[in-house]
């Protein structure tokens, strides 16, 4: 039992616990702040996977962008919305929570089963990577490698994703603007 493993468990527990609380809490504002914790915990977990740059980006983009956006959106919707959140559907056939619970539980068990059964035998490419020693080590300079890859190997997806991001932002702005001409 090493310290990193303990830390991993702590982060994992924090992420999972916060996430569970997130989905069960009634107050949306609190839920969003819980999401903040979850995202931080997730970023911590990325570190354990030796993806420091990803972790930083996670915090920057999610916490700095997405979460702020969500809170803004939440705040932009009026008070009615807050009441509406509590309203319980009286419809007979809508999916009640237990159904969602069952489905997600089932999904979880299926996934866990697959993960466990799969983890008995590592895929071939992982085995070969371990053999060849091409495994990221904590001492590697990830940022340099990533940047290098982005500019060479992944330059086309990189460009596409940036255009896509721009389109999304323009689209979002377009959607949320007030419709004057209508």
């Amino acid at each position: 039992m090493t310290i990193d493993l303990l830390l991993f468990y702590a982060f994992a527990a924090m992420a999972i616990g916060s996430a569970l609380l997130l989905v069960n809490i009634r107050n949306t504002a609190r839920a969003l702040f819980l999401l903040f914790i979850v995202l931080f915990a997730m970023a911590g977990l990325y570190l354990f996977a030796l993806a420091d740059f990803i972790a930083i980006t996670q915090i920057l983009v999610y916490v700095g962008g997405v979460l702020i956006l969500l809170i803004f959106a939440f705040m932009l919707s009026n008070k009615e919305l807050l009441h509406d959140l509590q309203s319980v559907s009286h419809r007979f056939i809508t999916i009640p929570r237990w159904q969602a619970l069952i489905i997600s539980g089932a999904f979880l068990s299926v996934m866990l089963y697959s993960v466990i059964s799969w983890s008995q035998t590592m895929p071939e490419w992982i085995e070969s990577a371990q053999m060849a020693g091409t495994v990221i080590s904590p001492s590697d300079n990830n940022i340099q490698a990533l940047g290098f890859r982005f500019m060479t190997q992944y330059v086309l997806p990189f460009e596409i994703i940036s255009i896509f991001l721009m389109m999304a932002l323009i689209g979002a702005a377009h959607l949320s603007r007030k419709e004057q001409h209508t």
Partner: protein
């Protein structure tokens, strides 16, 4: 030693929690939050597998891509939710049943 299985299990749990949120929540914003959770779980997987791919760094690269996409999706999604709210005066998906037969 933190094996890949650890990551996978945590990712699966987070994913399912997100899934639950998507299925069960009566609030569009919370659904969006659920989706974010699921995306995060998948990013965790990317990252976890990325450890064994030093040559291409595919996992981490695509994790970055996914983060960007998620951000874009949230932006667009929120815009849509606001429009929906303007139109239906609700963001409860249960009340938006135009697809009903």
């Amino acid at each position: 030693m933190i094996t890949i299985t650890h990551f996978l299990v945590v990712s699966a749990v987070i994913f399912c929690i997100g899934l639950y949120a998507v299925l069960a929540k009566r609030n569009a914003i919370m659904i969006l939050v659920g989706i974010e959770l699921m995306i995060n779980a998948s990013i965790l997987n990317f990252v976890a597998f990325s450890r064994y791919d030093k040559v291409n760094y595919g996992g981490q690269v695509f994790a970055l891509f996914a983060i960007v996409l998620a951000a874009a999706a949230v932006a667009v999604g929120l815009a849509i939710i606001l429009n929906v709210y303007k139109y239906y005066k609700t963001i409860n998906p249960a009340n938006i049943n135009e697809l009903k037969d």
